[in-house]
């Protein structure tokens, strides 16, 4: 016998169950019936809240974007140098995934699902990084850098790939050889290596720590 819940709570519980299932099985791997069973309601009740699977999926994305990471705090609190901002953004992003690893799973599922709503949603999240890296390198790289435009685009992609891989390894595929290295350490080192690869030495870290402390 299902428990009667008030509308908003029912809606919330459906969203939570749907997020879980979509993250485990992808958009096409989940049916409305399965989600309804998980929250112990009839499909008819579920359809009263969400008219279709696509609308439910969109609502899951919407709910996740409401918790979208804000980089405002990073900008206010840290220095404005490329190194400081990139370090701060990376920490914020890592925290948002650690708080809700379903985000990472749904992102990976959506890459193969080819769902336009999801694809826009995740593209937009990464765009914060790629925009920032492209814009900053465009300001910093000498104009006579060979293949300048492609270098800048590749650098942004490289960072996205590195960060996503670190999160993947830590959250979805725990490996023994990485067991003793924390996510925080991995991400710090990742930023340092990235900066070095684009010709920027990260020299302000200790100074910044003193200022912020």
């Amino acid at each position: 016998m299902s428990v009667r819940l008030p509308g908003p709570e029912r809606r919330d519980s459906i969203l939570k169950a749907a997020q879980r299932l979509f993250s485990e099985k992808g958009y096409h791997g989940v049916s409305i019936d399965e989600i309804a069973r998980k929250v112990d309601v009839s499909p008819a009740i579920l359809y009263r809240h969400f008219k279709s699977k696509q609308m439910l999926y969109d609502a899951v994305l919407q709910a996740m974007s409401a918790q979208r990471e804000s980089y405002v705090q990073t900008i206010i609190n840290s220095g404005t140098s490329f190194e400081d901002v990139l370090t701060g953004m990376t920490q914020v992003y890592i925290k948002s995934i650690s708080d809700n690893p379903d985000l990472l799973r749904i992102e990976l599922q959506s890459l193969l699902d080819k769902n336009p709503a999801a694809s826009d949603f995740f593209k937009n999240r990464w765009k914060s990084f790629t925009d920032y890296i492209e814009f900053s390198l465009n300001e910093r790289l000498p104009y006579d850098t060979p293949n300048r435009e492609v270098t800048i685009l590749t650098a942004a992609l490289m960072f996205q790939g590195m960060l996503r891989e670190v999160l993947l390894q830590k959250h979805l595929q725990p490996q023994d050889r990485l067991e003793d290295v924390s996510l925080h350490e991995l991400s710090q080192e990742l930023v340092r290596l990235f900066l070095r690869s684009v010709g920027i030495e990260k020299s302000h870290l200790s100074r910044r720590a003193v200022i912020n402390g």
């Binding site: 804000s70 990073t74 925009d131």
Partner: protein, 77 residues
């Protein structure tokens, strides 16, 4: 005559670039001067509200027209 002292075009850019560029622009301005910012990232509305609240700069106005968000910020004394 314009009713602002500096202008920042942040169209097409995602957070945190609009905020970062606004922070830099404001630091180069005198107290009491105003900065107009144009952005297209819908998240910028919340971002600029939070930014002004925390930095003490005054958000004089915030509006949207055809997908473009315009903000007027007055630098704190």
């Amino acid at each position: 005559m314009s009713d602002f002292d500096s202008e920042l075009d942040a169209t097409g850019l995602n957070c945190p670039l609009p905020i970062l560029r606004a922070k830099k622009a404001i630091s180069a301005m005198e107290a009491g001067q105003t900065l107009r910012i144009i952005a297209t990232d819908p998240g910028s509305v919340k971002d600029f509200e939070a930014f002004c609240k925390q930095t003490g700069n005054e958000l004089l106005s915030s509006g949207e027209e055809e997908g473009k968000f315009t903000f007027m910020i007055k630098k704190a004394a």
